[in-house]
């Protein structure tokens, strides 16, 4: 980012939430880069930006889509890059119909299921896109990892490199976004057309051969019922401008915690195995051969699924995994549907979940509709909480808000809660994987006190105890646990497992027992072991590469010897795109990786993200597979066709192109389509999770204001690590809401006084900050007021306050099941909220006024 000429930060408050990473924005700015911040609020990020553009929460696709349109209609796109490196020229099936044709739906929609069949989205001539017989997953969208759906483009697709064919991606894209105009941005986002054009021009001026623009986003983009498509719009834009795979380009997905990237790489997600290998579904994948066949792509590096998966199975089941037993493929758990966090909470409420582990998570404060999570946990038999302090999720049964209102009584809650003290990050060794896929090793600074233990210690010894208990079992269902390789060396008085030994297993080893140095060495014959194929090489040469800390002034500007980046220590992904189709840098100023004709290999500042000796003019021979099936000028080596996807034929649940849908709760109707909301969003309409009336309904103005939730620098997410610390608690000591002077006048809110914020789910109180940093916007000719709510507080700790997340409904993006936390509606009134039983009564009165279905307990 420090090498960017322009940085667009949107859907992120980078300076506040990622202050350490923000140093690179500051560095770029000091070198002359323009910094733009597009956000409903004027934040500490806006304060450092050259330009702050306030927009209505939940309208980013209109804003970005209009830039796409601007780039296309004004011929500002990077032609050589787009024609060769993206799928712009590919011709799409004649069965495809766009949102422009179907008033907001794409072809293939099933209104009963609320899902799409993507057959009509395929490349022309690709048939059904390689869908397997009896395949269930594409309907429910549970199993897609980074590789998307199991498409198999057997032959080079039909193309028109002149980009004139009416069904080529480029023309479809142009038509799709044609109505996304500066005037529409003004109407929908509340951003003046002139300001919008200023942003669009800054991006265009700072893209091309000589210059690059980077984007940064965070949960301000993801936490919407159409969140994944926000990022898709940015991806389309960056591909059109030629800003992917180049220094100072890219899209930075800022992660919210120290190793959230790590927890998707070595996943804590229910539908992924390490390295984005899809978890197998219970139906349709009876044996390893079927799984491998379905998940092996015909081009690109997903063509080696067998080597990745079998090496993983060998890492987990060692000698027990043999060719005869499918390398223990049957030991892998199967998924049967959505098992994500919100689905699980709903099942908990319905009494379908008996036990729950919470490790470093505080859903009683941090999850959308936090009240429902507290009620859900009260239905469990047992709950294990591992945290630094007694967080609200561990104490809800005796001092939660529902005890005060009388909705729950301690003596009625049967949940047995085990609170186990955790070691902090300075009390254990291990690695963090950051936003840039950089693994960095952490030493232990001191021993944890008392009974505090690391997660590694907890999981390892819990596993050991379970294995002991099961040792005598002859039940086949216990074999996967009993046959695991579970033998990390331990040391010290508490038998702490050796974290480096775990890292070494993740890296993997070959038949000689020596650490592997690259995932290209993995084999499908059971001779290699690797716990996560994309991390292979992090322990190359039997050295912990992750622990490298060579200072930046002692190495090249790319700093390859600081930590280790997956895959293969590449610092910029798809960096073949930093060279032109002939393998020459696009410009001297932006040279990064190029083809050395004499040496016959790719070289440059970084590790080339391309087969090292594949020449730029390589043409795949007949019958070539995996990366050999891609040409020498196709840089996107994880894609089956080696091209950046302007159009996504499969892998997304809600369409091959992004389209603007209004948030679930909004004061406005969708100006673009008859389809108001994302048609594939996930809803849980049930007591405790009622949704507000739709705009236009007579009662819609019961909740007239837009609100958005967010974090502050001074606290950490749900507060477990900050509200209990005096040095942090004193910096932001009380829950507050931020409102504009105009809204304060309209509702009689007093600066420094109290306000009550009400939705159909909850009412909370907050101190009032009246500030010009929140600006009313003019949308569709009306004034829209936005209320800002930080969400860090809960009932415990030194700094206490109501939890903003109690206000939210649970409505989810269909691709990743993330909650819509960034745009919803509410009412706000002066004064503190009622206490005791009067509180749920107030919320119920509002629901009644809004004409919503009564909850069961409302009689």
């Amino acid at each position: 980012m420090a090498n960017s000429d322009c940085i667009l930060i949107q859907g992120s408050n980078m300076a506040e939430c990622h202050p350490v990473a923000f140093q690179w924005v500051v560095e770029a700015k000091q070198r002359g880069a323009k910094v733009i911040h597009v956000d409903p609020r004027f934040t500490r990020t806006s304060a450092l930006a050259d330009l702050h553009v306030p927009l209505r929460a939940g309208t980013d696709i209109v804003f970005l889509g209009a830039i796409v349109n601007h780039v296309l209609e004004n011929e500002r796109w990077f032609r050589d890059y787009v024609v060769r490196y993206t799928n712009a020229a590919v011709i799409i099936s004649e069965d495809f119909a766009d949102t422009e044709d179907l008033d907001g739906l794409f072809s293939g929609f099933d209104p009963e299921q609320g899902t799409y069949d993507d057959t009509s989205w395929q490349y022309a001539g690709a048939g059904d896109g390689g869908h397997a017989e009896g395949e269930h997953e594409s309907e429910t969208g549970q199993h897609f990892g980074a590789l998307g759906a199991p498409t198999g483009v057997a032959e080079p697709p039909e193309q028109d490199e002149t980009l004139q064919h009416p069904r080529c991606v480029f023309q479809l894209l142009r038509r799709h976004f044609r109505r996304y105009t500066p005037e529409l941005v003004e109407r929908v986002c509340g951003v003046p057309a002139s300001q919008f054009l200023q942003v669009a021009e800054l991006l265009c001026e700072n893209s091309g051969r000589e210059r690059t623009t980077s984007f940064a986003y965070a949960v301000g983009w993801t936490q919407h019922s159409v969140g994944a498509q926000y990022i898709r719009t940015a991806a389309i834009l960056q591909l059109l401008l030629g800003n992917i795979g180049r220094p100072g380009g890219g899209i930075m997905a800022l992660r919210g915690h120290a190793s959230i990237q790590g927890s998707t790489d070595i996943p804590t997600l229910y539908n992924l195995l390490p390295g984005y290998i899809p978890m197998a579904h219970a139906e349709g994948y009876p044996d390893l051969a079927t799984y491998i066949e379905q998940h092996t792509k015909k081009g690109g590096f997903w063509g080696h699924m067998d080597t990745y998966l079998i090496s993983l199975l060998k890492a987990w089941w060692g000698e027990k995994a043999t060719a005869d037993n499918d390398w223990c493929y049957d030991y892998l758990p199967r998924i049967s549907g959505d098992h994500s966090t919100y689905r699980t909470a709903m099942d908990m409420l319905d009494g379908k979940v008996r036990g729950f582990f919470l490790l470093g998570e505080n859903p009683a404060v941090g999850s959308a509709n936090a009240r429902l999570h507290r009620l859900a946990m009260a239905k469990l038999d047992w709950l294990v909480v591992r945290d630094l302090v007694e967080i609200e999720s561990a104490s809800f049964w005796r001092d939660g808000p529902e005890i005060e209102t009388g909705e729950l009584r301690t003596e009625d809650i049967a949940t047995e809660v085990f609170l186990l003290p955790a070691a902090s990050h300075v009390e254990k060794e291990g690695s963090f994987t950051n936003t840039q896929r950089l693994l960095q090793w952490r030493e232990k600074a001191l021993d944890p006190k008392g009974d505090c233990r690391s997660e590694l210690w907890f999981m390892y010894h819990l596993g050991g105890i379970i294995r002991e208990r099961l040792a005598a079992s002859d039940d086949p269902k216990d074999r996967p646990v009993l046959d695991l390789t579970w033998d990390y060396p331990t040391s010290g008085p508490h038998a702490d497992p050796d974290a480096e030994a775990v890292l070494r297993e993740i890296n993997g080893w070959g038949p000689d027992g020596r650490a592997l140095s690259a995932f290209t060495e993995l084999k499908a014959d059971g001779s290699t072991v690797c716990g996560c194929w994309i991390y292979c090489g992090c322990y190359a040469g039997e050295v912990n590469q992750v622990a490298r800390r060579k200072p930046r002034d002692q190495q090249s500007w790319v700093a390859p010897e600081w930590g280790w980046a997956w895959p293969a220590n590449r610092r910029i992904l798809y960096n073949r795109a930093s060279a032109d189709p002939d393998g020459r840098p696009w410009s001297e100023r932006k040279r990064y990786v190029w083809w050395d004709e004499q040496a016959g290999e790719w070289t440059g500042e970084d590790v080339p993200d391309f087969p090292r000796t594949k020449p730029p003019h390589y043409q795949p021979p007949e019958g070539a597979t995996a990366e050999d099936a891609n040409r020498g000028d196709e840089p996107f080596i994880m894609q089956v066709d080696g091209r950046g996807a302007l159009f996504v034929p499969s892998g997304l649940q809600d369409g091959p192109f992004p389209a603007h849908y209004e948030p679930r709760e909004t004061p406005f109707t969708n100006p673009l389509y008859g389809q108001q909301q994302n048609p594939t969003r996930q809803e849980y309409g049930r007591p405790g999770n009622r949704y507000h009336p739709r705009p236009g309904d007579p009662e819609a103005d019961t909740y007239p204001y837009v609100f958005t939730t967010y974090r502050l620098t001074e606290h950490h997410t749900a507060g477990g690590m900050s509200r209990f610390q005096p040095y942090l608690a004193e910096l932001q000591p009380e829950m507050f809401c931020e409102v504009s002077p105009a809204l304060a006048a309209e509702r009689g809110l007093v600066h420094g006084g109290w306000a009550t914020i009400v939705t159909a789910r909850a009412a909370i109180e907050a101190r009032v900050l009246v500030t010009d940093r929140i600006r009313p916007l003019t949308v569709e000719g009306r004034t829209v007021h936005q209320v800002g709510l930080p969400y860090h507080w809960g009932s415990r700790g030194l700094a206490t306050g109501d939890a903003a997340n109690d206000l939210l409904s649970i409505v989810l993006d269909p691709n990743v099941h993330i909650q819509e936390a960034k745009a919803a509606t509410c009412d706000i009134r002066p004064g503190r909220r009622p206490r005791g039983a009067a509180l749920p009564k107030l919320v119920a009165q509002y629901r009644m006024r809004a004409g919503l279905e009564a909850d069961a307990d409302e009689g």
Binding site: A15, E16, P19, V20, F22, Q23, V26, K29, Q30, G32, F42, R44, T45, S46, A47, L48, H52, L712, T713, E714, P726, Y727, L728, A729, E730, L731, Q732, P733, E734, F736, H751, G752, R767, L769, T771, D772, R773, L798, A799
Partner: protein, 272 residues
Amino acid sequence: MKVDLPTPTFGGGYDGQAGPRMGFFTDTSICIGCKACEVACKEWNLVPQDGPLRLTGDSYDNTGALGASTWRHVAFVEQQRGDEGLRWLMSSDVCKHCSSAACLEVCPTGALFRTEFGTVVVQPDICNGCGYCVPACPFGVIDRREEDGRAFKCTLCYDRLRDGLEPACAKACPTDSIQFGELDELRGRAERRVATLRGAGVGEARLYLEDEADGIGGAGAFFLLLDEPEVYGFPPDPVSTTRDLPRLWRAAALAAGTLLAAVATAFVGQRR
């Protein structure tokens, strides 16, 4: 104008053994108001929580001011500037470690002293809590801790400096808004930064307390500001409270002498 200082400044007491004078340059144009400096300072120096947990309503500043239990303070200034729109200034304040340090000069016990780094430090084992230093400081930095009685302020991490480390606040600052180093070098860097900013159209960029000819003889901690010092809560033209003491004493002595003479004259006049 060179101020005639009543006490020796840096180097005077070290017989040439002192190293170069060290200090802070705080470039507020790149401060993101994260308050990492406040937290790092408290963590390293074991400074306690400062007062009750209450929202001040003063933008994002819930710290308020420097004091005995706050050695770094980040100010937040929200400005509505008409056509230019909204501006949110942030600035991390700290003890200035003045060349002419009145706190040190008035300290009767010698608890306050000038270190070999040119910084001004209170020795808590010598401080008797008399509090003379408190009104002496022209910036309102040093203060007594109520429950303890003694005076406390920024030490510029004297212990870290002696171990060759930079102060905790500078170490923690993610954007290098707080820069630590040899004062002479920092002054040069600051001047270049102001020139760069002005060249980029930020005409209001200026340095504060870098001038040795000012009322405190220049500070060991100086700032790059984007507005008048008053906007950030800084005194625009601070003067060491001891600067005029000799002149005041001379005037007082003269007045006393005159009075004495007059009285004497009166008595002499009576003696007839």
